[in-house]
Amino acid sequence: MELFSSLNVSKQFSGHKALDKVSISIPEGSIFGLLGPNGAGKTTFIRIINQIIAPDEGQLFYNGRELKPNDIYNIGYLPEERGLYKKMTVGEQSMYLAQLKGLSKVEAHKRLTYWFARFEMSSWWNKKVEELSKGMQQKVQFLITIIHEPGLLIFDEPFSGFDPINASMLKDEIIAQRDKGATIIFSTHNMASVEELCDHIALINNAKVVLAGPVRDIKKAYKTSTYEISFNSFPGELNDILPSAFTIIKEWNDHDLRMATIRIPADSGPNQLISSLLPNVTLHSFSELIPSMNDIFIRVVTENKNETVLQL
């Protein structure tokens, strides 16, 4: 079941195409990575989801029906460019923003009190925002994003500006939100965090979706049948014991062991590699090299000139 989807959404800004027929579907309860190089159109797409700007063409669906103006109460958005009113107190400001998201005064106060206690920031309530550190402000902003318990949460580069302790706390909180049933769109350049958090992704490049699907499937599709082995030294050359179709990409020494990465043809399996190795060497480790999201990102974006679109 998908919580949100877009169909052929296009947007143009004075001659420049920001989005070109973008179709994305986000499964309910997933953490969805929205990836892409700078200027690819991610922010434009997020703004369209938030109904800050309207698409020129295309349709948007929320929970199986067309997106309505009132759906903004079901969306929490933490923009990349974010800030607070510097001269207002934290409490007043949080109350204001929570009420703008449709909470009643009483309800807003109740929830904020709970969350402020949970994040250990109750003592900030009467402080002005300008008295807080940047990290503290980020915490307040995160809290305001989730306070109305929306079904869809959008985080645009949420970890920028956080120290490692707060970043890991934030990561746990994002996962906790997902476990409570929220669907999360997560836009970032940080591929490590995509690897860690996302189960689905869409990669946008030059206003187009060039890659989309579950992370596991994408990785599988980008596997190159490359294996890394480590073995004891032996007198011969590795090349001589392998079938000629196998290619050695790299060979090196690591302390007492010899290491190598080997690519095998698509029609042969890892067992063939092992069986050709075993009579000659003492194998210490054997693993398949799975491409990282970082590799896939770079590969797709640099190869994108061929306009290959892969939807999984």
């Binding site: 903004i72 800030g83 009113y85 204001y96 703008l100």
Partner: protein, 458 residues
């Protein structure tokens, strides 16, 4: 709707709670009170001796103008033309001319002077004339009553029929011997004051709107907010919220100024003389014609007039049609502000910092400043072509019309000006909303007029 009220509330409360608001609220009335009190104070002092020549064609007022400590009267028998010709040589302060009237009771007089004649002198002359004319009317009335005994004596009727307004026109005799009507002072003061106030409010609160928008942009809070509300709601909420701050400040100023002025004037002027109403004097006069009572000593009245300057200003103020003045002021203030407010909001949305606002501020400030610069012309000729066109063109109308209104403006002109202003307000708001909507999401981009034009057509 609920959300726009939240926005208005925030904009209002954060501004009203600022220290600068409190400071302005206290300083404003002190300044305004000083503007009102100082001339009153001067008027009540002015102890330099002034001689006034009197030509009384009616003959009713012979010997009626008693000399006071600083006004001396002498009667001329020459005709008005030669008196005017000799006026500059005579060294007199003013020349009072009471023309003969066809109807038996005179109600107007002309006062010639080299400069604007002091309000003190005018008020003294007006009071003496009023009293004399009222006496004459009362005398006639009482004679009627004596001859016609059947009619019951109704004091209220008599008082009403006796009440008189004397018109003292002041005319300035210039160096070239030319005459020009001097402005009706109260209208001029009121018009100027209202015009400057509107100018000031539009500038002050319009730029507060602009600064508010820029603040939201540089704080980067804008994107969070417009994911909850429409940009138009945010813009209008801000304009209305700041406007309410302006109205609050204005009301506080009016209340405090009145408070200060009342307290201050009551300390300058002895009690009783400020409360010198027409009714009282008539009752006193009536008492004199009652044979059973002793006549009141005349000298008491002339002494009293020396302190009348202050109450005279208030009397003059009360002659102005305040409901119309205040109604028009509120309208032109409100719509002028709303129109300019949306333009200021658009500028705020288009730029990244206050330093970038200059190029866009110019076309907005020029009409405002022009209408203040042209103020002199509006006052000299309030119903002339220039004044008319300025008070119809929406960007100058709020100031120009407010300057004209105390002088009396035909209703159709007021209606026309108001109608155009409302249309202009709708137009600028529509335009501003478009520029604002696009501008608030643009960071770090120097915007040109061409760019704005593009945004308008999105």
């Amino acid at each position: 709707m609920h959300k726009i009220i939240l926005i208005i509330k925030r904009e209002y409360l954060t501004r009203v709670r600022k220290k600068s608001f409190l400071v302005m609220t206290i300083l404003g009335p002190l300044l305004m009170a000083a503007i009102v009190i100082v001339p009153v104070y001067m008027a009540t002092r002015g102890n330099e001796l002034k001689t006034v020549a009197v030509i009384d064609q009616t003959g009713f007022f012979f010997e009626k103008f008693k000399d006071t400590d600083n006004i001396k009267f002498h009667y001329l028998v020459s005709d008005i033309a030669s008196a005017k010709a000799n006026f500059r040589k005579s060294g007199d302060y003013a020349l009072l001319f009471i023309p003969r009237t066809e109807v038996s009771i005179p109600t107007n007089a002309i006062l010639y002077g080299e400069n604007n004649v002091s309000i003190n002198v005018i008020s003294y002359i007006r009071n003496v004339m009023t009293k004399k004319v009222e006496d004459m009317k009362l005398e006639a009335k009482l004679k009627d009553l004596q001859t016609d005994k059947k009619n019951p004596l109704n004091v209220e009727d008599i008082l009403r029929s006796v009440k008189t307004v004397i018109d003292v026109n002041t005319i300035k005799i210039t160096d070239e011997g030319k005459e020009e009507k001097s402005y009706t002072e109260i209208s001029m003061v009121l018009g100027t004051f209202a015009g400057i106030l509107i100018y000031f409010f539009i500038f002050m609160f319009g730029s507060q709107v602009m600064r508010g928008v820029i603040e939201e942009k540089t704080n980067r809070i804008i994107e969070v907010i417009i994911s909850s509300v429409k940009p138009f709601e945010l813009m209008m909420g801000k304009i209305v919220g700041v406007g309410l701050v302006g109205l609050t400040q204005f009301l506080l100023w009016v209340i405090l100024t009145f408070g200060i002025v009342t307290v201050a004037t009551s300390t300058f002027t002895s009690k009783g003389s400020t409360k010198h109403s027409a009714e009282q004097s008539i009752v006193q006069n009536a008492a004199r014609y009652n044979p059973d009572n002793l006549p009141l000593p005349d000298s008491a009245t002339s002494k009293k007039y020396q302190n009348e300057g202050a109450s005279e200003i208030f009397a003059a103020l009360s002659s102005v049609n305040f409901p119309v003045m205040i109604g028009a002021f509120v309208f032109f203030f409100l719509f002028g502000y709303l129109m300019y407010g949306s333009l200021f909001a658009a500028i705020g949305g288009a730029v990244d910092s206050e330093a970038d606002t200059q190029q866009f501020m110019l076309p907005i400030t020029v009409p405002l400043i022009l209408s203040i610069v042209m103020m002199q012309y509006f006052i000299q000729d309030p119903s002339g072509q220039v004044a008319f066109w300025f008070s119809v063109f929406p960007l100058t109308a709020p100031v120009a019309m407010m300057i004209r209104i105390p002088f009396g403006v035909p209703y159709w002109q007021v209606a026309l000006s108001m109608g155009i202003l409302i249309l202009a307000f709708l137009g600028t708001t529509w335009m501003a909303a478009k520029i604002y909507r696009t501008g608030i999401l643009m960071y770090g981009k120097k915007v040109s007029y061409r760019e704005l034009w593009k945004w308008l057509r999105y």
